[in-house]
């Protein structure tokens, strides 16, 4: 592999909205970084060792590319303020992605490499990912589907939704919900302050699960044959059990208690300061 530095600067001096379409030859394990301020970023894959960049931008915006070894950097600049560029990238399947786009919706489909996305005002939507997936939004929803990666997903004012995820999970938000559907990880930490934690996944033997909220509800859908020791703690939560769990008398009134399901293999912590904690059956989120 040559250590080539290819710097192709496409700048426009014409006052026209403009679309540029560029193909860049890259190694299959390329790491693609995108840095821009505003505009959407959409990433899909193909089997070629190339990155295709379709950029929709306005006058005075410049797109810069730099390829060094297996790192491809794509940067959007504006000569007159804020660059607003919509990017559509097609990358090799194994590409790793690092996207910093404060005011953008980011959508990634099908990559099988690590992913890191930072937005401020914008949603993040990921299908796939392998290794480590870190998704951070402030004012946006974070969604990930179909991944075996270890996931760290956080928002401040948005929901965090994980669906069909099997790697370790750390999910948090402040004023949104954490929704864990068909999650089969053996290590899940989910927290919110004012939102709900909704679990409708498969509790694995020996796994560790922590669902914590302050003012929201914790709803746990448990599968048939689940084995878990469940510790419940709250200040003043309400409790609802859709099936018998054999609580000691006075347990609910104490607001803190624990019980065992099956052989108690997994460890589960359910905490809501002032909301409600509800134990139900697996599949309750199917109606969504």
């Amino acid at each position: 592999m040559n250590a080539t530095i290819l710097a192709a600067v496409l700048s426009t001096l014409m006052s026209l909205p403009q679309e540029t379409d560029t193909l860049i030859a890259v190694p299959g394990n390329v790491r693609v970084t995108v840095e821009q301020v505003a505009g959407d970023v959409t990433v899909t894959t193909w089997s070629q060792n190339q990155v295709r960049v379709l950029a929709d931008h306005g006058s005075d915006d410049t797109i810069e590319y730099e390829l060094e070894g297996n790192e491809l950097s794509i940067m959007a600049h504006s000569n007159t303020g804020m660059a607003i560029v919509d990017f559509e990238l097609t990358v090799p399947v194994a590409a790793a992605l690092e996207i910093s786009a404060p005011f953008a919706d980011v959508r990634i489909t099908g990559t099988q490499g690590s992913i890191s996305v930072e937005t401020v005002e914008g949603d993040i939507h990921v299908e796939g990912g392998r290794g480590q997936v870190d998704l951070h939004a402030v004012d946006g929803d974070v969604m990930i589907f179909g991944s075996e990666a270890t996931v760290q997903a956080a928002s401040v004012d948005g929901d965090v939704r994980l669906t069909d995820v099997s790697g370790g999970v750390e999910a948090q938000t402040v004023d949104g919900d954490v929704i864990l559907k068909d999650v089969s990880s053996d290590n899940v930490q989910a927290a919110s302050v004012d939102g709900d934690i909704l679990w409708d996944g498969d509790i694995r033997d020996g796994g560790r699960y922590s669902f914590v909220t302050h003012d929201g509800d914790v709803v746990v859908g448990m599968q048939q044959g689940a084995n878990a020791k469940v510790s419940v703690a709250s200040f003043d939560a309400d409790f609802e059990f859709d099936f018998e769990v054999g609580l000691e008398p006075g347990a609910q009134e104490s607001k803190r208690f624990s019980f065992v399901v099956g052989n108690g293999s997994a460890r589960m912590e359910l905490e809501s300061f002032d909301g409600s904690i509800h134990l139900t059956r697996r599949g309750y989120l199917e109606e969504e």
């Binding site: 006052s15 026209l16 505009g39 006058s59 007159t80 303020g81 560029v85 005002e121």
Partner: protein
């Protein structure tokens, strides 16, 4: 001017935390600040930006030393807030594209609905940088070197952007 004296009095009170005094300042100056926000950033964001400007002014009012008129100081605060405002803009938003205008600078027939377009609307449609410079120079009366400092551009860029804005706007004159 009586208004400036009233301002000085209310500023002193507001700096001590007197909300009522600040409200009086608000009432006297909101129309101007709102007008600026609307022209610089468009009608959708004008309300929020106006509020942001006054909240920022409240936070900084203790630092206002009275070396200039309160109105001018407030204005600067508002401009700083408006320029620091980064909203995600839809790239599909219509922009004035010179090529679509015919040689004489009149709109072509397909865009005939825009002949006689409201001047305010035309300003809104200008590309951002040209719009900022136009509003600050021709509407608000700032000089190029002041604008250059505010927008972090050169005076030369300020002049060329102003010219660009004026050239685009002349086509909307009926």
């Amino acid at each position: 001017m009586p208004d400036a004296d009233l301002d000085a009095y209310d500023v002193a009170l507001a700096a001590e935390g007197d909300e009522g005094a600040f409200e009086r300042l608000y009432r006297r100056h909101v129309t101007r600040i709102y007008g600026l926000a609307r022209r610089m950033a468009g009608p959708d964001d004008a309300d929020e930006l106006t509020q942001d400007a006054f909240v920022r002014a409240w936070q900084k009012i203790a630092q206002f030393r009275g070396e200039a008129a309160f109105g001018s100081w407030l204005y600067r605060v508002a401009i700083s807030v408006i320029l620091g405002h980064r909203r995600r803009l839809a790239i599909h938003r219509e922009r004035m594209v010179p090529e679509e205008w015919s040689r004489e600078g009149r709109p072509s027939h397909e865009r005939s609905s825009e002949i006689g377009m409201d001047f305010d609307t035309a300003i809104e449609r200008l590309p951002a940088r040209a719009r900022h410079v136009f509003v600050l120079h021709d509407v608000e009366g700032y000089k190029h070197h002041e604008i250059a400092r505010m927008l972090k551009i050169t005076a030369g860029t300020s002049k060329s952007q102003l010219h660009r804005a004026r050239m685009l706007l002349r086509a909307t004159l009926a």
